[in-house]
């Protein structure tokens, strides 16, 4: 008994010292938490309803959407001091037909106040040519071209009376990472410094993005479905990617 007490007395200060040091480190860099992003799929300000609702493109042509899916990857957060944090293995497939996919959770993010978010619309170059993937990048998700390696970054299928394709179909499969038809686009947006993304151990903020599917068809080039109603990579996919690069996403608000 005596010996144990003695030992404890000896050990205690040592324990306190090490734990103190560790705590310091954790406070400065190692505290991590979670935030979520909601992707609110819309068409020109109206909620996106698949299959039934008729929308108009910038040329005034009617269209309906049956499929709307896109990849968001390599999410990076920056602070006002210019430091940034890339969220490892952040690959998400948002599918308008699957409600659960429109709300994504980012875990193990260092706590802090972030004033900028950026991400790839699509999938980075390397993963397009990598071996068999799983999760969001599983080819079973129907977003991988089997005949021309690479992911479909944004897939929109639907119909338009103006489309000259069979059954008035619209087929926009945007992808490809090789110049001159590289369609990787990065979206970045500043966050109001007065209400930054405040990631805290006791606060898990939610970012709300509006996603405008009609952005595929306007921006740099107004698309007429009479002349462009089908693309699976190549120059026409570049036209569409240049359109949605800036117009597809808009940060609406943050719930801290």
């Amino acid at each position: 008994m005596k010996i144990t007490t003695y030992l404890l007395a000896l050990l205690c200060p040592a324990l306190l010292l090490t734990s103190c040091k560790k705590d310091n480190n954790e406070i400065t860099a190692e505290t991590k938490s979670t935030f979520t992003i909601e992707f609110d799929n819309q068409v020109n300000g109206s909620p996106l309803t698949l299959n039934t609702t008729t929308y108009k493109n910038a040329k005034g042509e009617d269209f309906k959407i049956n499929v709307f899916k896109y990849y968001v990857s390599n999410i990076k957060l920056s602070k006002a001091d210019g430091s940034s944090y890339l969220i490892r293995e952040s690959y998400f497939l948002i599918d308008a037909s699957k409600a659960e996919s429109t709300n994504i959770t980012l875990k193990d993010v260092p706590t802090g106040d972030y004033t900028k978010i950026e991400y790839t619309i699509g999938v980075d170059y390397a993963r397009n040519f990598a071996g068999a993937q799983t999760g969001a990048l599983d080819p079973a998700n129907g977003m991988f071209w089997t005949w021309n390696s690479g992911y479909i970054f944004v897939k929109l299928e639907g119909t338009s009376p103006q489309s000259t394709a069979a059954n008035n179909a619209l087929t926009f499969h945007i992808g490809g990472v090789v110049d001159p038809n590289n369609t990787i686009r990065t979206f970045a947006t500043e966050i109001n410094a007065a209400n930054p993304l405040r990631i805290r151990t006791d606060g898990k903020p939610n970012m709300h993005f509006i996603v405008n599917a009609a952005a595929l068809f306007t921006g740099k080039t107004d698309v007429s479905f009479a002349t462009l109603n089908f693309t699976m990579g190549g120059p026409n996919s570049v036209i569409v990617a240049n359109n949605y690069a800036n117009g597809l996403f808009r940060l609406d608000h943050i719930h801290n």
Binding site: F129, G131, A132, T134, A140, T146, W147, S149, V178
Partner: protein, 336 residues
């Protein structure tokens, strides 16, 4: 406690015995006359169980839409893993595909796959044949569901990957454990190059090899007998198949196809992307006098490759030294 540890020891030694007696350890070895491979199993640990699973999947016709076509249907071992006597691949519902089946040989050194180089990783290559309406005509979700419900697959996945989980990634990785092992590097040519078993070319083969290096090897580069480039060899004035430009959207790639390997060429007839030539004589006659002034004809073929009949015979003699009988007959790769 004692009994348990003895039992464990016994189990251990028994397993080791079984391994050494019944199985050769599957290994991937780089032949001494080959460069470093593009695929090295770094993210796909090769094992006997993974290879066995990959091989079973490769030969399982139940994976196709009408259960009639396996990978092995169009990639036949006796034809160096291409399809004998078929101009183009023959898929489900008797559908005739678009192009000649490429042989599956030395794929671990290849960085792009298929005649147009559209697929960039050996692991994702099978997806093309799985989903093509004229090949296996199915999709990976259907295959995953089938395998989950079909013995002995769940057990085989567990042995190969440590879990009964079955997904597309594990399917593709196990098939790669089979296809990337298909190394053909023991032809007479290889033995001559490596100075093995006292192998020497005959006078005719040697003359053919000299001619080959002079006239053919700028595209059919050793040791793979392809430089993996895309070229037009002037089969038609206007190619019916757009070829490489389907992938790149570049007019300069219209009508170009990957230079095919010549390894085991004796057994991979018919030849060319559309399988139009049934014999090596037809192929050599094409280069001698049949090359058409196609839009993107390769510069090296502007005047064809003039060959007299003696030279043709010598080149054929050399090409037959590229046959790897051991590879074609290796029971490790056969359907069992």
């Amino acid at each position: 406690m004692l009994a348990l540890s003895i039992a464990l020891m016994y189990a251990c030694s028994k397993n080791e015995d079984e391994v050494s007696q019944q199985e050769t350890k599957i290994a991937f070895t780089v032949p001494s006359n080959f460069p470093a491979p593009a695929y090295n199993f770094e993210d796909n640990k090769l094992s006997n169980a993974g290879f066995a699973l990959g091989k079973k999947l490769f030969y399982d016709a139940r994976l196709s839409a009408d259960k009639s076509v396996s990978c092995g249907s169009c990639h036949q071992q006796f034809a160096a893993f291409t399809q004998l006597d078929h101009k183009v691949s023959h898929g489900v519902n008797n559908c005739q595909g678009k192009r000649n089946t490429p042989p599956l040989v030395n794929l671990a050194w290849q960085k792009a796959f298929f005649w147009d180089g559209g697929v960039k990783n050996i692991e994702t290559s099978p997806l093309n044949a799985i989903t093509d309406a004229c090949e296996m005509g199915t999709d990976i979700q259907t295959i995953v569901a089938f395998l989950k419900a079909t013995a002995p697959y769940p057990d085989m996945f567990k042995q190969a990957f440590g879990s009964t989980e079955i997904n597309s990634q594990l399917i593709l990785k196990s098939i790669t454990q089979f296809t990337a092992i298909l190394v053909s590097a023991n032809s007479k040519y290889d033995q001559v190059m490596r100075k093995e078993n006292g192998a020497v070319f005959t006078a005719s083969e040697q003359a053919g090899y000299t001619l080959f290096k002079e006239k053919c090897s700028s595209c059919h580069a050793e040791p793979f007998f392809t430089d993996f480039s895309y070229r037009s060899n002037g089969l038609d004035l206007l190619s019916a198949d757009e070829g490489r430009s389907h992938i790149t959207s570049l007019q300069a790639d219209f009508g170009k196809f990957r230079v095919p390997t010549l390894r085991n060429i004796e057994y991979t007839s018919p030849y060319m992307h559309d399988g139009r030539f049934y014999s090596l004589d037809e192929v050599l006659n094409h280069y001698d006098s049949g090359v058409k002034a196609a839009e993107n004809l390769d510069a090296s073929l502007k005047s064809g490759i003039p060959l007299n009949s003696a030279q043709k015979e010598q080149i054929k003699a050399f090409l037959k030294t590229l046959t790897d009988h051991e590879f074609i007959k290796n029971t490790l790769f056969s359907e069992s």
